[in-house]
Symmetry: D2
Subunit: 348 residues, 4 copies
């Protein structure tokens, strides 16, 4: 276990929800010092003036996102809109700084597919193969030695953790997967847009992006790797009238008699500190993981049809973003994996 | 079109959410007089004392649900828990009173299946075949002459309207249907139960009854009739952190090239006053039908997979309960079908 | 009572919440035809494409807010940001069109005070004295013959209706009034601003503008007129984590023994169609007036201290904006005052 | 600072919201061992089966609340309805166990007043004078040596902390105080009651208990002690459509020129770890203290009127209940006062 002096941390884009969540987690992490927090729009302001929940915990001042402001960092987190990290990551890597990107810039392996879904050419396609997709439950060892970690998206985290044991063991028809997922509005970020207003999203529910969502290729890429075969996935995201939480309802058709699914999940995740398989018959609530880095999962095999239904919940800002990024940092820098991530879900 | 003196209406169980919603709608209906509103627990109290939104609109006083209090009614609505209507309906029918039951007592045709799902023997199985399942879009003519109308459940209304055009035309694999449905908490009724508290349901989301829900056999019964063949349906209900609204996300696999699905839906529902097929690419919001008797539907055929995804929204208390009951009453008593049901969805 | 052909209505700024609420109300009003709906940003789009709750009820297309588009209107509503109506009202008035302004442009009588609070010179100060402040409970007769009606603000409506009987009768110390008011977020309008996001306003509560709010001079002006003496008012607005509804909690100190306050309120409002004094001991819920044009009021005289506490609730978009505007239109054009405003509060 | 082996903790009534919040906090407190958690209704069940957020953190099983189950405890928390703690506290105290009561049983000094407000005779009036009212900001030293600590109510904590500096310094008219307070629904507890349902409390706002609330005498007792003179307090509680959070809006009239109020507050609370005076002009949000033990305060002196307005927010379950109880335990047992209470408010 690591000891000694704290590592120096930089955060690019500290004014969005994933950025401020990183600050909330890192402020109480015993092994880090927050050295730099950048924000192009709020440079010069104290972080705690914008985010009064951090008063007394974070005394940093937002700076401009210039590279020189990040020298001296051991690790830099990008909590930026897509398309930013790929501009700066190469320079930081050259300086020997570890990069953990919470945006989508390094999640896809195929630069053409990235360009298709994100509407621009990739700035450093040569790094895509090196980048390690930071889902610890799948590639913990690679994360331990990575220079560049692509932190998974929120939906992809919930869907992949929910389907992993089934696909690894080739128990279900990989070409007929359905993910009906629901997210709280904080997943859409801190953007001044009419559709995200309380008056628009409160007391209402809707699907969106049914015809195509950027998380679809990311999920498919991950599932293909788990399954070792092509995957057909129908993915329908929905917007919940609440702030934090993702609930994935996953449908899969067993190939043969699938055996004891409950036990399969329990064994697969037995040693995982942040994946919790609930007792048979449970229905996970998103509230039980609110503010925590945990994924709670329940599995059903329906009588008659045999259809398998998996329910997986996470907090989109924690296990779906900032918490998983800290988990990756812990792995990369030799901290206990759970350091700074012990918070219990805030119920009620 | 009917004219002349108003019909006399009785409501059994006026203190639940469907009962008070009936009162809200009937109070402004030009062709009815609210003669009797019963409530075992609140007999003697003025309706408007319990429900101040009705002050000045409803001057009825709750009475005991004795049959003599209902003599003189032309129609009696049951807005009671399951198992009540089947006790009293035969006597009322004998007196020539039309019965519209908003509970589940007369929805299933098979008395054994009813007993299985509702945990008791049916009190008048001989009426099950006579009862008309009150989904006007499917059996408008039968409703016009029915003595006993079984008003559909909220989930069944949304799911059946969503799948109707596909199944009637045998365009999809009837044995592989999936209904992932989400409901506001008012669907669970006005019951003093911990799981329905604001602190339990607010800011959280979960599935429930995945292993089996009473609306499953009701939906399957309806779908089988539409499809004219056996149906395999996976049905997963969820609880939304909001009050009113149901959103059904429906998944179906086309058998062959299904043709122009959008046009199919538009034509099927062209003359339906309360089913509104949205333009291609739309995503219906539950808020847009809040307080209205409308079902809004959008249809997607996904590129590549060909999977059909249907989105259908209703207000569970209106088109999913009291509004549909009034629609059935209108049909039965010769009113214009839309009388008293013109309210526009309350946005924002 | 008016009959004959419908009046022709124009709405300037139909894309905000008060504009779409006007459309919801006017679409079902039997005496009007919606002739023109303008929107600078959405000109050319069908109203119902932007607001799917209006599909089938409103077939208008947004046009540019040019004066020629408004010729032929009998009445024009301004549902615009402050500072717009005062630019165009003079031209419309010249053409003989009645103007009902839902913004603040004509609410204050003093042009200097208006300039102070709204940060710009008033464009037509000569109209300020002519404009009739459209609170029907105070000046119904003047409204009946007005050319230019200044529709009251949402907070001012609730506070003035709550204090009116006390001040008219000089029962309380006019220099020590306190209004602690709470509003749903729709009161802030449909603006793309971060502080109005669901993630910012959901599950949280705060005061705002404690040092000074634009509704303060409007309320004071009204209270002074009622009291016939100078008024001292402390006004603290708060933002509720919900969409519709205002709750005013009003504190006043009786001068002498105030007599039977409950009866005073009941008598003052006995003939008012939209003010409803609740029975003694009641606590009005904002939900009971949601979607309706009603103000519900309860009055308490506290034991011991004698302090008077008044609770008043309205729907900020109806009695606090669009509903009151329609009420004013009804008065002005000789309709029954309640025409098109009969909707019952949407509970639950 | 204390070190050595953990203290043994018992919790009576672990199934309510304050009980489960105590568990959430104590599970991560490095100096305690949760020895016993009682629940009459859930005895025999694992705590984490009822509260899945605690899985992996709390392995206790609910037991019956028999005294023998509590032997061996160093401290026992009562998280019970009013009227329970006073039955058992004497026996526990005799055994040398420290008692921290989160209910109201020991908050009032006058047994007759207690009986008046709580509707029963007090079971051990002789303990009322000994009990220490556990507001650390007022009587930290007494808490350090107390046997019996009466943990303050949620409203009383917010109101007293908000008014303390003004009253201690006799700057305002003590006979004209107004507290307009708003609480999330979790303050009403985990009780199966219709008025607490999501459908009743969501998207709505109301005052309640205007004629008299049990927290009124508790607050007055505290204010009298601060002011050293009689106090006149008008107290109006309201119910917010959200789960956690209290916002107190406090009105006080200065006697003379009050001086620099902002500085007064900053100095009074400079060394308080859990009271945070915000910069001038701030408006505290309840969200910024959600899940944290902090009280955030802003102070305004209004231009013209001179009226002082104080805004104070807490999380009713933390600083308003379980967090303050842990703070008191820390003081009593020689832990650092902030141990286990470092969590940062959960924004967004």
């Amino acid at each position: 276990m690591r000891s000694g002096k704290p590592i120096e941390v930089g955060i690019i884009g500290g004014t969005g929800y994933t950025g401020v969540e990183l600050l909330r987690l890192l402020a109480l992490h015993p092994g880090v010092r927050i050295r730099t927090v950048t924000s192009r729009t709020d440079a010069g302001k104290a972080v705690a003036d914008l985010y009064p929940n951090l008063r007394g915990h974070v005394d940093a001042v937002f700076t401009d996102p210039e590279v020189e402001n990040l020298s001296g960092c051991d690790v830099v987190f990008f909590a930026t809109p897509n398309g930013i990290a790929m501009q700066s990551a190469p320079v930081l890597l050259e300086k020997g700084i570890v990069v953990i990107d919470l945006s989508a810039d390094f999640r896809l392996k195929d630069a053409d597919e990235w360009a298709h879904w994100y509407g621009q050419a990739h700035a450093c396609p040569e790094l895509l193969s090196e980048a390690v997709y930071g889902l610890p439950e799948v590639r913990r060892d690679a994360i331990r030695s990575a220079r560049l970690i692509a932190n998974p998206g929120c939906y992809p985290t919930a869907v992949q953790l929910g389907l992993l044991p089934l696909l690894e063991n080739r128990l279900v028809a990989a070409d007929r997967l359905i993910a009906d997922v629901k997210s709280g509005v904080s997943g859409a970020g801190r953007k001044a847009e009419v559709p995200l207003l309380m008056s628009e999203t409160g007391e209402s529910f809707k699907a969106y992006a049914v015809a195509g969502h950027r998380h679809w290729p990311e999920i498919v890429q991950g599932l293909v790797e788990m399954a070792g075969e092509p995957v057909g996935l129908t993915f329908v995201p929905h917007l919940l009238p609440m702030i934090r939480g993702i609930h994935a309802t996953l449908y899969a058709v067993p190939i043969d008699e699938p055996g004891d699914i409950q036990r399969l999940y329990e064994e697969r995740y037995r040693d995982e500190p942040f994946v919790d398989v609930l007792p048979p018959g449970s229905h996970p609530d998103t509230r039980n993981v609110r503010g925590s880095n945990r994924c709670q999962i329940a599995v059903f095999e329906l009588r008659g049809s045999g259809q398998i239904v998996v329910l997986a919940v996470i907090d989109n800002l924690v296990k779906g973003a900032a918490g998983q990024a800290v988990q990756n940092m812990n792995l990369r820098f030799g901290f206990e994996e759970t350091t700074g991530l012990q918070a219990i879900g805030l119920y009620p």
